[in-house]
Symmetry: C2
Subunit: 107 residues, 2 copies
């Protein structure tokens, strides 16, 4: 479960979520990712390192550039974990329905 720590904590930062949203449109180099943000290149480089460490992106080497793109594994793991919560919420919701249904006749 250690990688869930990394994945969720990577997603907790709005800059990193914005980077992922940008990458959802397609591959981008580090400088392309720096451009829309009011932040220095080293700052973005470290955000990218965090995202890579969390398994949310991968990078290839292309000359002096490092194009980044989304990686699927971390999202799958998160989805799986959230599934547990989703199922529990549905169950509790069903129970609530039962309670409400049981109450109606008595109104």
């Amino acid at each position: 479960m250690a990688s869930l720590d990394a994945a969720f904590s990577a997603l907790a930062d709005p800059t990193r979520r914005a980077i992922l949203a940008r990458l959802a449109l397609g591959e981008a180099t580090v400088m392309e990712l720096v451009e829309p943000f009011d932040m220095t290149q080293p700052a973005i480089s470290r955000h990218l390192k965090v995202l890579e460490g969390a398994g949310l992106i991968v990078r290839r080497i292309e000359g002096t550039k490092r194009p980044c793109r989304l990686a699927p594994s971390a999202v799958a793991e998160i989805d799986q974990w959230l599934g547990m919560l989703r199922r529990a919420l549905e169950t509790n919701y069903d129970r609530l329905d039962d309670v409400l249904a049981a109450m109606k006749p008595e109104q």
Copy 2:
């Protein structure tokens, strides 16, 4: 999107995820949540405050107890945001399929 910060960052902590997993089984009081952990009651109380602030749990008052249960809103918001990544990953995967399909003949 500020609440996504709170939700993801709440989920980044393994103790808090364990608390949620416990609550997936049903409501629990603070002391019931303290028991399985090797941690003091104030520590758990603050984790609960974080989870509540993130909209992941709600608490009612029952005498001197505060039973906690899962809340649906934050999970829904997370799901919605992850949907964006999921769709992008599918699209990129399709593109990869195209690339591979285009490569095969040349092998």
